[in-house]
């Protein structure tokens, strides 16, 4: 069981992370993944706006603990052979990857469900905050989304 969790300013190499996980255990039959990317537009105060950069702040120490707890609870729910969670912080440009979640299992259903679960809980429990800079130079904190709370709540039902 390989668990790799990192919070970093540097970009990550998705392909290398996938290869490392795939090679770690011969019981792995499938790896589900999610890569979150800085979108070029977002709903800001009820209207669509162009985004130029995104800055991610976090709570050092608690972030890593929160991610470890989320991964642990995924491992209790599904038969996983490995999990990778890498989350970037600092200033990111349009199109850059923000987060990588990889879940490896013998069968794909478990891998998919665990990957969705980790993303859903991460979105509501891991202490990261996004601030957007618009092309006119103004900045604003991104509001939490109701749909993220709903997505997380479905795992408690």
């Amino acid at each position: 069981m390989r668990v790799h969790i990192a919070v970093q300013t540097d970009p990550f190499d998705s392909g290398a992370e996938i290869a490392r996980l795939a090679a770690s255990n011969h019981a792995i039959g499938g790896i589900a993944s999610f890569i979150g990317v800085v979108r070029g537009h977002n709903r800001v105060g009820g209207r669509e706006a162009e985004i130029s950069t995104l800055t991610l702040e976090h709570y050092p120490g608690m972030t890593e603990k929160a991610l470890a707890r989320i991964v642990d609870s995924a491992c209790e729910r599904w038969p996983l052979q490995g999990v990778t969670v890498i989350h970037r912080v600092g200033e990111l440009q349009l199109g850059e990857p923000i987060v990588l979640v990889l879940t490896a299992s013998a069968h794909r259903q478990a891998a998919f469900e665990a990957c969705e679960y980790i993303m859903d809980i991460l979105k509501t429990e891991a202490p990261f905050w996004k601030k957007e800079r618009l092309p006119d130079g103004s900045e604003r904190w991104v509001d939490a989304r109701e749909t993220d709370s709903e997505a997380a709540a479905r795992w408690l039902r």
Binding site: Y59, M62, V99, K123, P127, F128, W129
Partner: protein
């Protein structure tokens, strides 16, 4: 003494990344009430949706406080 940290929008609203509080009350709820009583900015900041952690674990108003604790207040998270 406890350490108190403010993050993201809350830090901007309060104009402070954190502080040390010498003689904290017994619970997190009492600390919130004490901070919110500091003035309009503080009352407004704590009137919204504020998440709370004690020693890097999510906490609520009933969570007891002890000497040396690390307390954090922050808005709903938006990572991922």
């Amino acid at each position: 003494m406890i350490r108190v940290m403010y993050f993201a929008r809350l830090r901007d609203q309060l104009g402070s990344p954190g502080e040390q509080i010498e003689a904290p009350p017994a619970t997190l709820g009492a600390l919130v009430d004490q901070l919110a009583a500091r003035g309009d900015d503080w009352a407004e900041a704590f009137s919204g949706s504020v998440l709370m952690a004690v020693n890097q674990e999510m906490a609520d108003r009933d969570t007891p406080l002890a000497e040396g604790d690390e307390v954090a207040f922050f808005p709903p998270v938006t990572g991922g």
